[in-house]
Symmetry: C2
Subunit: 205 residues, 2 copies
Amino acid sequence: MKLYSAHKAPNPRRVLMFLAEKGITDVEVVNLDLSAGDNLHEDFRRKNPMAKVPVLELDDGTCISECGAIYRYLEERVPEPALLGRTIMEKTLIEMWERRAELSFMLTVGHCFQHTTGFFKDRMTPIAAWGEESGLLARQFLPLLEEQLTGHDFVAGSEFSAADITVFCALEFAKLVGMRPDAEEFPALVAWYQGIKQRPSAAIF
Amino acid sequence: MKLYSAHKAPNPRRVLMFLAEKGITDVEVVNLDLSAGDNLHEDFRRKNPMAKVPVLELDDGTCISECGAIYRYLEERVPEPALLGRTIMEKTLIEMWERRAELSFMLTVGHCFQHTTGFFKDRMTPIAAWGEESGLLARQFLPLLEEQLTGHDFVAGSEFSAADITVFCALEFAKLVGMRPDAEEFPALVAWYQGIKQRPSAAIF
């Protein structure tokens, strides 16, 4: 398998962390230079018409994009350790928290970053007001995480899962826009973050 | 089970359509009045702290939000007809297309609607420029759908799936912002849409 990735990009990091937690090592990582527009070339668009990383290319040439779909493929191929749940309720609640983390946190942090920094202004229209608003929306997710992590060891319950990976990678990304949860305001979230940070999979980046 | 929904709301419609395709009828539908802010009340926030519909409440009181998570729960409980795939590759490609449809189409149509119409301006900050831009981003998804549906009967391949439901509900929602794919420009997409429109599940709304 080949993973099309990019140095320091938050969404590919989710897949790298997922692979590390699974102990899957037979993946060749191909790093694209997003600043140079490697992902916009026709040959990459044939792998993912959305022109985004990550893309997991299987040995038969099938290309899988969207982190959630790559998580699914890898979980089916290598079921243990389970990162998408074992029981019906584990599967459901991990999916709920993973989607919340993607839609209401990773995506809002991403919009804040793209629209306030103009990092991709050669290929999109940054709207500063939307960037600022997205930062506020991202911050609104923190109290929800604090409440959940006050009662649970991990984001979706009692076990580490893909939801922890998505939240962790979004929090790491959020540093780029100056968002770092304060330990006094968010003690459970910060304690959880420090625990995840110590996992070997958190260092692969 | 109870489904907290809202008349004419696009995301609850995804779940109503999924339930109909599964033939699941033992669900009490509770319609909230979003304009009146029913979803903002404390008792509803206990069911979903994101204050959004749909929410599926199980008989033991467990509340599931996020359409993808509700899809997952229902698929696990009632496996046939499969709407999230049977083989590994079906599961993976349905997840890929469903996430694409949610992130790059349903969400962009939603931002276009909310930020250009000011429908929820009592509870959010509409940014007209972002609304316009979101409309352009949503339109960029149409050629991708056209290409996919030129080669396949359904969005994720040869069988009807949750990905069709998400795309169909987003297209229906898009009418509210004046987006209707033209049959000359998007013949495969329009033919697919007309086929889905004839399914009994498309009429439940």
